[in-house]
Subunit: 95 residues, 2 copies
């Protein structure tokens, strides 16, 4: 699980998606696409963003809920809470 979190955070586009969801939760795929395009000049295809969201969901950093034909995405910061304490406070190594 921590493995997936590090992998999810590795990509700059995914980190920007987290930024957008932190600023405004409950966005749909199209909203996120529009925001990335306007605010960050990222001309990504819808599928590219969709695949990023899938990675973020697999890591637990993003949760989604479906309502009709809309799918809303929410940020979940729980996996981030103790991500660095592994090296700051000596706990046990994970993977």
């Amino acid at each position: 699980m921590a493995e997936d979190v590090f992998k999810a955070l590795a990509d700059p586009t995914r980190r920007k998606i987290l930024d957008e969801l932190a600023e405004r939760s409950g966005q749909t795929l199209f909203e996120i696409c529009a925001r990335l395009s306007m605010k960050h000049q990222l001309g990504l295809s819808r599928q590219a963003v969709s695949q990023h969201l899938a990675v973020l969901e697999a890591s637990g950093l993003v949760e989604s809920r479906r309502e009709g034909r809309y799918k809303f995405h929410d940020l979940n910061t729980a996996p981030l809470e103790h991500i660095a304490e592994r090296w700051i406070r000596r706990d046990q190594p994970e993977d």
Copy 2:
């Protein structure tokens, strides 16, 4: 710089190297190789570990000092301190 930190943390072998340096600071390249091989069954070449250390140094997570023919590596946790605060919103602001 934060970009480099996330990239450095993306690889599981590099995270194990950080684990080893957190447990015992000032190790040389050969010591790290031996520890990865014994404790983690990672049969990596010396160059592979050397390249990982270069990535970690570029991120600031590892600092090195040369003494004669030895090069000692130390963990620097400073770049990890506020890595997640970018998305974690506090309900009670920290004045």
